[in-house]
Amino acid sequence: MLSLKKILVANRGEIACRIIRACNELGCATVAVYSEADRNQPHVRMADEAWPIGPSPARESYLCLDKLIDTARRSGADGVHPGYGFLAENADAAEAFESQGIVWIGPPVKAIRLMGDKLIARETVAAVGLPLVPGTGKSRAMTDDELTASASDIGFPLLVKAAAGGGGKGMRIIRAPGELGEGLRVARLEAQASFGDDRVYLERLITNARHVEIQILGDRHGNLIHLGERDCSIQRRHQKLIEECPSPAVDEALRERMGAAAVKAARSVGYYSAGTVEFVLDNKTRDFFFLEMNTRLQVEHTVTERVTGVDIVKEMLRVAAGESLRHRQEDIKLKGSTIECRILAEDPWNHFMPSIGVISSIASPSGPGVRVDTGVSAGSEITPYYDSLIAKLVVWDETREEAIIRSLQALREFQITGIKTTIPFFLQMLETPEFRSGNIHTKFVEDEFLLKRSRNEELEKVAAVAVSLIAHGRRGRATTLNSNASPGPGAWRLLGRRENTGTRL
């Protein structure tokens, strides 16, 4: 039995449902919180208790620390799971709960704080030997001669960046040593004009990069392990769309090196619970560089759960209750291949514009190796207040090739009406030769992929026949009803029979 008895789930949607399941399995009672918009969402129905926390906008409900602490105290919760987003990486929130004697089901406050400041995080992990994207660093002013001297160590192509900069101002791409002199001159001019500061620095430009991250798990007794990688290179505007494990670009030796580096980074901040160390991986050289550490459970933890067999959320609960990790590093083996597609309420044909409305029906795929995590049901309203994730389709098979085929089958089975979703995007993405071969990079969706209006004449004909019959049926019904000034029982009976038997033609 877990020493924690009642958990407040300070989140909504699919991740709240995911956490409630884990709590139930461990015999913990659950407390859901909900905003005005979310009264009818599944996480409210799934929990043992449900408490309202205010109006729909997140800053008046799910981000209101005082309301959440108050709810935890009044409901008698002894632990809080923040999920992802909202307060999950808020060190002050973690500290406030702990000061009330409510266990934060996540990492220590100090780790959230250190990794939350991106500059301090980089310095901290660099000090224990993690590789950062090669560059001169931006702390001190360097002369053109000093910069030119260090350029050959950094390698080409490289970026000249303004030390005071941001938003691409004062940034120049240098492809060969001969371009450096002019590039420095122009970048300094632009930096001076934009920021009143002409200091510039150099950084290697990784043009063909993957996003590869390592899942970390640790306990409060100093045990830290990694659960392998996730490749999240299919992204759009830094939003991940597909995650998979194993990465087609990572072999056992590289996995061991990246895993060891990630464990070292986590250890440098005294980490426990679940966390993720993100790296940029150069497709050409297979060099990897530290990006940041996410001090929380991630959306795509499901991928790792499927290939390792470890239930990460249950492990977080056990660790928070003071238990030791059940797995040693040598126990962790990746079995088969898993791909996750994020089903979003967005219109892939229209620049991924949010699609808002009521889900009139939802039929999830099933079958061997198919997992669907969702926090919506038929009748759920997709509101503009929160993020657009409605379901995660997590598909496993023995090989990557088979996992792609099985994902396509599951995507074709997945039916959601009432709103637009990213399902058509995934059906095409998973068919591209680039994705099939694993030869992808983080700019693939934006720079190379084009969503096609796929044409299927057979299916168009089928749709035409079906809709003609439906429209014809409605028309016939309208005629019947109109012919009776007050629709008597005869007309209604006829209508009823039509609905029951369908249109046999």
């Binding site: 949010p354 808002i356 089928v462 809709v467 019959l469 439906i470």
Partner: protein
Amino acid sequence: MKYTVHAGESGFEVDINRDGVIRLDGQVLDADLQPSADPTLYSLILDHRSYELRVEPCNGSYRVQLRGVTCDVVVEDERRRLLAGLKSASDPGSGEIMIKSPMPGIVIDISVNEGDLVNAGQTLAVVESMKMHNEFHAPRAGTVKAVRVKTGAKVLQDAILITLA
């Protein structure tokens, strides 16, 4: 009854006679369409080929999903009536500009009041949807004739935010 049907990029002539015989471009089909307890779910067996479909009415047409493909279907006979209805309702004489939200969202800011003179390009309103901010600008100079929404209001797709005269 004869229908002209547009499905995706294809056009078909469909004829359903009094005896329920259906012809598609003149060819007789064996079609069995069954609805279900779920109003969007249908089963169609067409010349012994089986299809599961999701069908929902959508702005005068039908949105059909089958085997992962979505296609919009318009049955011409119905559409004619709909268009005729719309024409009489619209107001052709007015030169106003209506600023509409192309997406549903929350009104974050209304920067003008009724009666204000605005310049071309001036920000009129900001609508937030799923963590994204969208600014609406005046397409030309003019006077704010009406502000239809308040800050904090939830708006639907194509909702009119502001009218300019």
